[in-house]
Amino acid sequence: MKCEEKQMLISSYIDDALDEASQGSMFTHLADCAGCREFLRRSLDVRAGLASLAQPEVPPSLDRTVLRMRPLRRGRVKSARERVQALWSHRLSVPLPSAALVALALIAVTLISISLWQNPEVVSVPCLPAVDVYAQPPAGEDKSN
């Protein structure tokens, strides 16, 4: 337990966040404790190891999109043009499966529309027999009606 407390001090010492009195206590302990000396050495190795990692480069696409932005004045209401500009530079993050599903649905709807356009279904309407309204009534019927 005592070593854990001292190792916490060592961690703060590495961060340059340890006061003089605590530093004295830490160094006194380090003189007698090989385990904590080893912890200090390893912690410094961690720092060196992290420092050796290359810093990722900012992608040029990020420079382009951000440097096109125009900051809004404080208290000013956005103009319609600024709202449209903000809309164009806004990004929407969509999960890949959802995007693929929407794309597939669009393709399916397009294909069905094309096939219907090219082969319209022939609708046949049954025709009634033609009736000649001017024809003479059959013989024997009352003509007075």
Partner: protein, 184 residues
């Protein structure tokens, strides 16, 4: 001519000064991108997070309560954007609250060749709450108080997490460094 302070740049940004906005972007984009990239392990998601951060600055600079703490504000927004990305990812890894590791132990990644690869792998296997404090301290040089304002924790919690993260990495990578020393 001395470079303008963050506070001066923010005052200009609030008047709609595009040059000041660009200067601030050039000052912090690299650090923010590196932070998000290492936090997420994904450069595309990191790009989106930094983009959203500067969108918020361009549209909401008036809402920044402490202009003197602009750097912390930028990192806090970038962190929140990164966490939102992570929420959409499938959960996994280690649920043990006492453990600092989120994923498989890095030394099992036997195909890694050099020390840097081991360090990178070990860093990416730390749980988010340990990784973020280590990144902000080691790469950005933020104080405990500044890290606390980014993560929304107390300074003592930051100090404790830094200690645990260092101890975990030191233990995990001890074999690698010992081997390297023997080879020298």
């Amino acid at each position: 001519m001395h470079p303008k302070s963050d506070q001066e740049l923010l005052s200009l940004i609030r008047t709609g000064d595009k040059g000041a906005f660009a200067e601030l972007y050039m000052r912090y984009s690299r650090a923010l991108f590196a932070f998000c990239s290492r936090l997420l392990g994904d450069t595309q998601a990191a790009e989106d997070a930094v983009h959203e951060t500067f969108m918020k600055l361009s549209s909401g600079s008036a809402a920044i309560a402490e202009p003197a703490a602009l750097k912390s504000w930028l990192f806090a927004v970038a962190r929140n954007e990164s966490l939102m990305t992570l929420r959409h990812r499938p959960a996994g890894g280690n649920d043990d609250a006492e453990s600092v590791w989120a994923d498989e132990t890095p030394l099992s990644l036997a195909e890694k060749e050099d020390v840097r690869s081991f360090v990178r792998a070990a860093l990416s296997c730390l749980k988010m709450e340990y990784r973020e404090v280590l990144l902000l301290r080691e790469f950005e040089g933020l104080s405990y108080g500044e890290i606390a304002s980014v993560t929304g924790d107390s300074a003592s919690s930051v100090k404790s997490r830094l200690f645990k993260a260092r101890r975990a990495l030191a233990d995990r990578l001890a074999g690698v460094w010992n081997e390297e020393r023997e080879n020298r």
